[in-house]
Symmetry: C2
Subunit: 515 residues, 2 copies
């Protein structure tokens, strides 16, 4: 049941004298009846204090205990699937298929962390024992402390309350204070209840997960400022992400902020591929319109060159402008989309659009020389829009790649021989991105150990870490080295007999052997 | 030959209209005749630009090529060992044994990165291939770009020009712009020449290593501000390190700064151990005075409890205050030492000292209740000084551990049963440190894969990384994922046949197998 209250230390808060807000029925753009209370300063303070108090105990749990906890979260989510999906569709306006797909993806993510914990080698145990002139040194990774996670507007499940940031932090052994996204506060509350129920069932300290409602920017700011918070996970706009980053760096003790702030995800198409691949317009338009353009990896820039650009532009335009499209998650996103489109127009891009409805897909066209003179044309339009850049030759194409700021992804499409002949372009583009595709489209981020979702600034605030896939746990871990530690005080991962049977670097050799 | 000039792109600079400075004969505290030109703005600009220009080419070299380059640096250092050691002793005032020891350590560090590169698995290759519904995804780590490294005052070789920061960045494939420490500019110039000679001999781009002289704070600031610089390595004071960190975070594109800023490295001694171990005063005093107290891991706080504290204090005092001690690296360090001691006195610590010579060792004593009331007593005194904190019980001891800011190290000395009975103290202290010792003293940082030199803020700016040992290469690497990349464009580390024979995570299994 949704009550619009924050939950801290396992208990519903009863904030007095606080402001409140409502979510929207995204399809009808009308306000829903449930009222949500903004978390108060006292509640923020309490959530951080209690998380800090239980940190040591939670950090000391074994990987097996945390794996069982994550499986319990998964089971609780499955138990409440019907009501979660119903609320999700209501608040986001996403269709049934997307809802069910994102729900499964969320469970799949949790399972991947369960597997990681059970396998256990992620602690990166490194032992130097019995080396001449060197003490007994044993290092492994430990959780860094309480983490604040912000729900994302565009993924109410997979990047929100029980999404990748929360689950990776809980897997690492860090308590989480979750600030629900105000666009889908009800969905967030239901998911939080599943997590709280799992905590109860596993007998873990209730303080390891708090769920705060907050529409005002202040709630997030205060959380990031709190001295007991040791890290932040965020997915959203550049403006919001950079603001949180700046707050965190100005603290007396700066803390890491992993903000994934989106990008234009350029697709470069080389001339022969453009001429020979008639599927490109359909494929790319599908990616542009997927989720009504509300994906971090939405391809917002299509860079083409060669004699077939006119035909391509016409075909892509037709594919993008025609067909049905769902509504956007929230009226504010629609509003921003419209103003960003207007901005593109003001910068000199010709904008094509089927009609003037909010959300309706659009395509822009500019010449390479224009975009090389005006970096504003490289800014992201969040929605079902892409800007086609016409290059008169491959030199301009390379120049565009060099003008790009950091990106989550880029795609280079060429025939086999074109790719071989353009190694310099490939190398230049690679320096700008977290993921480089040579086929397909950038939307669709597989949750695999090999995934990298992040990229050079401003795509994310720390390109050395991914926010999708099991490697994302590394954001919340730091190494601690024990020197000459009595064997009975060593954690299992560092014991001579290797009771967890994990891979360890033992005197410079990666091995599962005992000592 | 030392000429007092910066070297950029393999050529000595001929700065006009620049200011200059001199180094000191540390023993006699007198100025040495050689003049050093401060790098000009144009030179700073040029060094960063050229590093950025050669970055792609250097990043594309194989691990084998970089291993051969590092071996060449080692050989060149050995060739010029005599003149380096002579200049080192002159500028630092450290005795022959320390000079030779630090020289060997520096070569040992280089060799450890050679071994790492030859083994090759450090790129953390992760492949997901042939999974249903998932594209071909292959991820590995790549260098992040040009790195600025600052030479450290206290380690003219091992933490300076060819020290851990420089060598780990060059091993990663990042060009380095080295700002020599002005206290030993001549030593730095000789070491830089060895690196430049190695670059020539291996036919690598001259721009991958620049050596800049600079006494003014402005040189370092400008380097960190430069848009082409992508990371910073620093070892030194909190004030300087934090200032560089803040500059880097205020850039349009923030960059990581790995500043290792020292700490007080507390030693906690439990009552029965204090009563039974008569070696402690000699052992601890040796650590306090080692290198005239100019170590990051110098134990500056000794926390004791039990009935034997009076005897311990008297014995430790006698050990610390008696015996010969070398001079400090530079008159400025001596001056700071004196003023920090005065500060301790002003805060109410009783200070014991043998005589009033600059550099002479000192010991302070305070009660636990005083330090719990006054955090200023927890500040570092850089030099041969330690503050003994007398606790009346173990509760006070735990309270001290909780009051501590982040530390590079802490040491807990107890009898076997005391350690078992004080697990909570162990857990509390562990949260504050990068390395926790149960025997011995914190000075002496082994260069092993298991070492962790870094710790929670303010010990270092990013506790997730070490600045000593081969894991320090991770500071300069970021993952890039290739999706559906044509096999002939893949780097060797990601090819099906695993030609480098490295460990890779292949469809969730860590293996050296081919695909």
């Amino acid at each position: 049941m949704i009550e619009g209250k924050s939950v801290i230390n396992g208990k519903k808060t009863h904030a007095v004298n606080t402001t409140s807000f409502f979510t929207y029925d995204a399809n009808k753009s009308s306000q829903l009846p449930q009222k949500y209370d903004n978390a108060t300063l006292e509640e923020i303070e309490y959530s951080c204090e209690i998380a800090s108090q239980v940190f040591s105990d939670y950090a000391a749990t074994t990987s097996t205990i945390r794996a069982a906890f994550l499986m319990e979260i998964k089971a609780e989510l499955e138990n409440t699937k019907t009501s979660i999906i119903e609320q999700y569709k209501l608040e986001s306006g996403y269709p049934e298929g997307r809802a069910v797909g994102e729900f499964s993806r969320t469970l799949g993510q949790i399972q991947s962390f369960v597997d990681l914990l059970i396998e256990g080698s992620y602690v990166d145990a490194i032992l130097d024992v019995g080396k001449a002139g060197v003490p007994d040194l044993r290092k492994m990774k430990h959780p860094i402390g309480p983490i604040v996670v912000f729900g994302a507007s565009n993924f109410p499940l997979a990047f929100s309350t029980a999404g990748g940031d929360t689950i990776s932090a809980l897997a690492a052994g860090c308590p989480v204070i979750l600030k629900g996204h105000p666009y889908h506060a009800g969905t967030s509350e239901l998911v939080a209840q599943a997590i709280q129920s799992a905590i109860n069932k596993r007998g873990l300290p209730a303080g390891i997960f708090a769920h705060l409602h907050g529409e005002s920017i202040g709630v997030g700011q205060r959380l990031v400022e709190h001295s007991k918070v040791k890290g932040v996970g965020f997915t959203g706009s550049y403006k919001a992400g950079k603001a949180l980053y700046d707050i965190a760096q100005k603290r007396k003790e700066p803390i890491p902020v992993f903000a994934e702030m989106g990008s234009v995800n350029p697709i470069f198409i080389l001339p022969n591929r453009l001429a020979s691949d008639s599927n490109l317009p359909t494929q790319i338009a599908g990616s542009v319109k997927m989720g009504t353009g509300q994906f971090c990896t939405n391809p917002g820039l299509i860079v083409v060159s060669g004699i077939n650009t006119d035909t391509f532009v016409e075909e892509l335009k037709s594919e993008i402008l025609n067909g049905e499209i769902s509504c956007m998650v929230h009226p504010n996103i629609s509003k921003n989309y419209e103003s960003q489109l207007q901005h593109m127009k003001n910068q000199g891009a010709s904008i094509h659009r089927s009609n003037l409805d909010a959300n309706s897909p659009a395509m822009g066209v500019v010449l390479a020389e224009d975009i090389l003179k005006n970096a504003a044309l490289l800014e992201e339009v969040f929605g079902p829009f892409s800007l086609v850049v016409i290059c008169s030759n491959n030199t301009e194409l390379t120049a565009i790649s060099e003008a790009l700021p950091g990106q989550l992804t880029a795609t280079i499409l060429g025939t086999s021989s074109e790719l071989k002949d353009n190694r310099q372009l490939v190398a230049a583009v690679q320096q700008k991105v977290g993921r480089l595709l040579f086929e397909g489209v950038p939307t669709g981020v597989s949750v695999t150990p090999s995934m990298n979702h992040g990229g050079p600034f401003p795509a994310s605030t720390d390109s050395r870490f991914t926010s999708v896939g099991t490697s994302s746990i590394e954001r919340w871990l730091r190494p601690i080295c024990l020197q000459d530690c009595p064997h009975e005080l060593l954690p299992d991962a560092l014991k001579n007999e290797n009771p967890l049977n994990i891979f360890r670097t033992l005197n410079n050799q990666l091995t599962q052997s005992s000592l």
